[in-house]
């Protein structure tokens, strides 16, 4: 193998300084898309806790609620109990695969458009721009000595940032308690300490991450850029500088001369607009790289310049190096959105989603589990019959009171009794569980084996819903 040509240099850089980035404002379709997604995402986040959903008198009426006190999760018409947490596993699988699929179609669109870090940074940048002006003004303001105007702008900016951050933390805690009540309690200082504490923590993290850390989060803290590198392939559409068109870079005047001389002249005028608008401060013309979050703002910036100088737009576009190579070779470009990996990801999403929907749609609204007494395993009664005792837990997942009939299958001679239960059916409150003591007795002469498998059956006589728990009847 040929060794790389390496030249020795003086270098003592152990730590990289964070170079401040001043992203410039830009207009265009990708910017518009980002504004819309920002409005939708933040709108959902801030307002969703206030959406109501009627579940009857016994359950909370908040559409989305994580009720930690009562161990329940509510999402519109879905209510999950702690033992159903596996639905979240399915959801996480779908979410991961959706990221994979998005990635194999158009790269890191999650990073560029939907990631909370991107969305809140965008919002904080908009505030910064509003108060301190665009890129040039901000650079100038940073360099200027402290003055009344600078102080005024700084204070206003940080005040607005903290207000947004505070509102962000405030919205977070509303997902864990009845939102209107909690808002009132927070305002009158009657809310639990934990609520204030969490608002404080999230205010701080939002302020720090969106105000100061920004692209540093993407470059150094987030694992996704690294995972992305392993997921992309040559057919994925990434924000790409079309060097086949752009190179060699030269000014408009120069390109006229060069073209007249019959030499190749690139379309890139080296105006650095793509760098100026980049929220992570990279130069997309260096090719696909870790720092690129694929937000497409450089496409807008470049298109604006190309339109002004009368050249075709999309010198930077969602494209891939394969097509650039094909264009250089004079071959037609190929768009392969449907290929094995996208089909596979979509298929797995469909399968997992289908299983989840099926399981959710057919799940039971009652449940029974049983625990056989461990000491003693059986009891001899006066008449010599054998009794086994079970701790049976019944769950009623409906929002109203239900009565369940308990019976045993697999032991024809058994008499079944529920300890201290006055009524025929075991009554369980709305959205509740209850443990009862089940006593199963079999006459001595009808005991057939030391261990007989049985099923404990509960039935709601009104809607005939039935559930079973498997156990054993033990005898000497």
């Amino acid at each position: 193998m040929k060794p790389l040509a390496l030249e020795p240099v003086e270098d003592d850089r152990l730590y990289a300084p964070a170079e401040k980035i001043y992203p410039q404002s830009v207009k265009g379709p990708f910017r518009r898309l980002k504004w819309r997604l920002l409005a939708i995402c933040l709108g959902i986040y801030y307002l969703l806790p206030f959406v109501r959903w009627d579940r009857g008198p016994h359950l909370p009426s908040q559409a989305v609620l994580i009720d930690l006190t009562n161990s329940r999760f509510y999402f519109f018409f879905i209510e999950l109990w702690p033992q159903e947490v596996y639905y979240f596993t399915g959801l996480l699988i779908v979410a991961a695969l959706a990221l994979f699929l998005a990635n194999s179609i158009a790269g890191r669109i999650w990073c560029g458009y939907l990631c909370p870090q991107t969305v809140w940074t965008d919002l904080f940048l908009a505030v910064e721009r509003l108060v301190e002006g665009d890129r040039r003004e901000r650079i100038k303001l940073d360099a200027a000595p402290m003055s009344f105007d600078k102080a005024r702008r700084r204070i206003l900016k940080h005040f607005l940032w903290i207000m947004i951050a505070w509102w962000t933390g405030g919205a977070w805690v509303l997902y864990f308690s009845d939102a209107p009540t909690l808002v009132r309690d927070l305002a009158t200082f009657h809310a639990p300490l934990a609520a204030y504490l969490w608002i404080g923590i999230l205010t701080f993290t939002t302020y720090a991450l969106a105000g100061f850390m920004r692209e540093q989060v993407c470059l150094y803290m987030c694992p996704w850029p690294r995972i992305q590198a392993a997921l992309t392939d040559q057919d994925a559409l990434n924000v790409t500088y079309r060097y086949d068109r752009g190179e060699p870079r030269m000014s408009v005047k120069e390109s006229v001369k060069t073209a007249a001389a019959g030499l190749p002249a690139g379309a890139c005028v080296d105006c650095f607009q793509c760098v100026a608008v980049c929220p992570t401060g990279i130069d997309i013309r260096n090719g696909s790289q870790l720092g690129c979050i694929q937000c497409g703002l450089c496409i807008d910036a470049c298109d604006n310049v190309m339109a002004k100088i009368g050249r075709p737009t999309r010198l930077i576009a969602y494209d891939n190096d394969e097509n650039i190579e094909r264009r250089i070779a004079g071959k037609p470009v190929v768009s392969r959105l449907i290929r094995p990996r996208t089909v596979l990801y979509a298929a797995i999403i469909a399968v997992v989603g289908g299983i989840m929907t099926y399981v959710l749609a057919t799940r039971q609204m009652l449940a029974v589990s049983s625990l056989h007494d461990r000491s003693p395993l059986y009891v001899v009664l006066k008449d010599g019959s054998i009794r086994n005792n079970y701790a049976v837990r019944l769950s009623n997942k409906r929002p109203y009171v239900r009565g369940f009939q308990l019976s045993i299958e697999g032991l024809p001679a058994a008499t079944v009794q529920v300890a201290d239960e006055p009524s025929e059916a075991v009554v369980i409150g709305p959205d509740r569980t209850r443990e009862v003591r089940l006593l199963v007795s079999v006459p001595a002469d009808r005991v057939t084996a030391p261990s007989v498998p049985i099923r404990i059956r509960i039935t709601d006589p009104l809607d005939h819903e039935t559930a079973f728990a498997s156990d054993h009847f033990l005898a000497p």
């Binding site: 270098d11 990289a16 461990r374 003693p376 009891v379 001899v380 201290d420 409150g429 209850r434």
Partner: protein, 293 residues
Amino acid sequence: MAYLDKHEVDPATGKTTTGHQWDGIQELNTPLPRWWLWMFYACIAWSFGYWIVYPAWPLISGYTSGVLGYSARGNLAEDIKVANAARRKQSEGLENASLESIVGDVRLRGMALAQGKAAFGDNCAPCHGSGGGGGRGFPNLLDDDWLWGGKLADIHTTISHGIRAPTDDGTRVSQMPAFGRDNLLKPDEIRSVANYVRTLANLAPEPKADLAKGKTVFADNCASCHGNEGRGNPELGAPNLTDAIWLYGSDVGSIVTTVTNARNGVMPAWAGRLDPALIKALTVYVHSLGAGK
């Protein structure tokens, strides 16, 4: 400084390399962000604050207690105090309610069962077993046979005052005579009555047993407490001799020993040792074990 050594530049990326090389593959130098270093220093500074505020350094005897005076043990004591206060508040319902109304109320019963279960494990399980299954000489609380009665009130009295408890004036007392030891019956009479008692419970007697004699002995000596038919008497704690439950064993030898030396089991009185609400909770729990009477 060693880091001022000459480094090499990778021509493809323009980055310096670390100088490490594996099979011709060079590692690029990607410096850590400076703020990361500052966070490291901030963590060190934070730890100094910790030393001052919280218990930190071991001393020859004890440790530096920190300005907050925090201690995990103190926290635990505080937590237990809070829990006890909460429990007391909930137990008020138990203390004032009748046993029947506790059983009839889902909330009170749930509380009584939970408290009773814990108290049973702490106080009763050493003799009656963790699940109430009992053992030789210690009644099984899960079956349908109750020496001193299996109604809620009976169980409550038994737990409160015990059985033959020397410390309690209101305790339940009865005394079976030691027929053999005190020479009230001759050994052959004891053997006969032991065999006769077995027949009461449909158990086979010994082949040459004198059952007629046993019957006479039983009528003269045992029937006053155990009843003419041997069905026992819960007023006196006299066991039912006709059923399948034998506290001290049903073989002839065990019965002979029982008649010879008598059996007078003792259970301590719990009134005064446990608070009234907890005794009620225990009563409800024990009653639930075998579905009581």
